[in-house]
């Protein structure tokens, strides 16, 4: 797949995510509204809340993510080296404007990119990454992040993060309202209500799982692709391969500032390593690092 098809597919995916989100929210609104007397009022309220939430997260999601991970903007002269590297690779990628640069004060080796489009994007690295990687390795990592930005992966991933977050919140709320709610319904409606409760319950249980699976599928395929197009920017796949090796042998992944909502953004999974079972593999946000290294070394 060429880069332009990739960008188009990512934009499509973003619209699809928003669309699915609106349908979901409408449904939830209807079910909850129906339960309390008026389904249409529920739809209206849910749509208004959903759209407001969407707008806030679309324009403020990146900042929320940066705040959540405690990233601070990198300034000259302390981070001249890092800023120059980012600006150089932005030129190589042909971006009109270089992304903003942030750092996380943490000895772990990790990095991520976020934003809604290349003009409103940022790259964040940990100070540990800056200290422990050579110039070529750092360039490899930054190039990987730059590819996420150029391919519009960042938009899909940001939307996935905020919407999966809300879906979880909502289904939680839905479950609660069924458990505790009491409506003034007539008897004829009882059968209908039962159906709604069953569907609602199923949805409430399934929604977070489906959302999670979408997020994972998006993230895993994306990492390989960003590795490859990052190597195309630096013309040196060994740089990123070496960086990944260092990250692999790093005993201290980023645990302090990462959580479930932001995990899929990072270049390598920010949680502590443990034994890999089948289920773990199924639900891991990143492809196995050994396979990524192997692919890079075979380029």
């Amino acid at each position: 797949m060429g880069i332009y098809e990739e960008i188009a597919s990512n934009k499509r995916r973003s619209y699809l995510l928003i669309f699915a989100f609106l349908i979901f929210i409408t449904f939830v609104g209807y079910v909850v509204g129906f339960f309390y007397g008026s389904g249409y009022f529920g739809i209206g309220l849910a749509l208004v809340i959903g759209i407001i939430y969407f707008l806030i997260s679309y324009y403020g999601g990146a900042n929320a993510i940066l705040a959540m991970t405690k990233a601070k903007e990198a300034t000259k002269p302390k981070y001249t080296y890092l800023i120059n590297t980012v600006e150089g690779l932005a030129i190589a990628a042909g971006l009109a404007k270089p992304p903003k640069v942030y750092v996380i004060e943490d000895s772990a080796l990790n990095a991520f990119a976020t934003g809604r489009d290349p003009e409103h994007s940022s790259i964040t690295v940990t100070t540990g990454l800056l200290e422990k990687l050579t110039k070529l390795e750092l360039e490899g990592v930054i190039a990987h992040e730059m590819s996420h930005i150029k391919n519009f992966d960042i938009r899909v991933m940001m939307l996935a993060a905020v919407m999966v977050g809300l879906t979880v919140l909502l289904s939680d709320f839905l479950l609660r309202s069924f458990l505790w709610g009491r409506g003034g319904r007539s008897r004829e409606n009882n059968q209908m209500t039962a159906v709604f409760i069953i569907v609602g319950l199923a949805l409430a249980i399934l929604a977070p799982l489906v959302g999670e699976a979408i997020k994972l599928a998006i993230s895993r395929k994306r990492e390989y692709l960003a590795d490859a197009s990052g190597a195309l920017l630096t013309r040196y796949p060994k740089g990123l391969a070496d960086a990944l090796k260092k990250i692999r042998s790093d005993p201290d992944p980023l645990v302090d500032h990462a959580n479930k909502a932001t995990a899929h953004l990072f270049i390598s999974t920010p949680f502590r390593k443990s034994k890999k079972s089948f289920m773990k593999k199924l639900f891991s946000t990143h492809p196995p690092i050994d396979q990524r290294i192997k692919k890079l070394e075979n380029m």
């Binding site: 001249t80 080296y81 120059n84 030129i91 013309r235 796949p237 380029m299």
Partner: protein, 182 residues
């Protein structure tokens, strides 16, 4: 009546096709132009940094006049001439700067100076930006040159007067090309 309709549709399709080809070529050409201005920005930046470096170094390197003169000479020939001569001058500056920084290793006072350290960081950053800008420019030129040579675009390219663009010097030796497959 039917014949005129068919002819009309064929003419419309041909016109749309020509517009499409013209636009795709123009897009590539604009990209080449933008890529060139990126190189230009970085060359200018280095051009402005060099006098600062020479000033910072002059006091320490009394015995290394030739190195400094080389940089200054290459600098003046940089901002004029064709792309080829500019590329050549740019490479000369890169080499001259390398030797200045190599010589600076012998001067601990100089190396310790905060001003010098910052200049070195800025200059090496600019050097790699030039390399990346050149890479993007040459990629863009390649895409454009390819587009105006393949059939049937080559016929229209000639008609609209598109000419092949010049590459900017050779790629750096330390970066070898790799083929990336998805």
């Amino acid at each position: 009546m039917v014949a005129t309709w068919i002819i009309g549709i064929i003419v419309a399709v041909v016109i749309l096709f020509v517009i499409y080809i013209y636009n795709s070529l123009i897009k590539l050409k604009v990209r080449v132009k933008n890529a060139w201005s990126q190189i230009d920005v970085q060359l200018k930046r280095r051009y402005d940094l060099i006098p600062n470096l020479v000033n910072a170094v002059k006091g320490y390197m009394k015995h290394e006049k030739t190195v400094l003169e080389e940089v200054t000479k290459a600098r003046t020939s940089l901002m004029s001439g064709s792309k080829e001569t500019q590329a050549e001058a740019s490479n000369q500056i890169t080499e001259a700067l390398k030797s200045i920084f190599a010589v600076a290793e012998n001067y601990p006072d100089l190396k310790a100076s905060e001003n010098f350290k910052q200049l070195q960081e800025e200059l090496s950053g600019t050097e790699s930006k030039i390399a990346y800008a050149r890479q993007f420019y040459n990629d863009s030129v390649m895409a454009f040159n390819e587009a105006i040579q393949v059939f049937p675009k080559n016929m229209f390219a000639k008609m609209f007067g598109f000419k092949q663009e010049e590459f900017f010097g050779a790629e750096g030796k330390e970066r070898e090309n790799v083929e990336v497959k998805f």
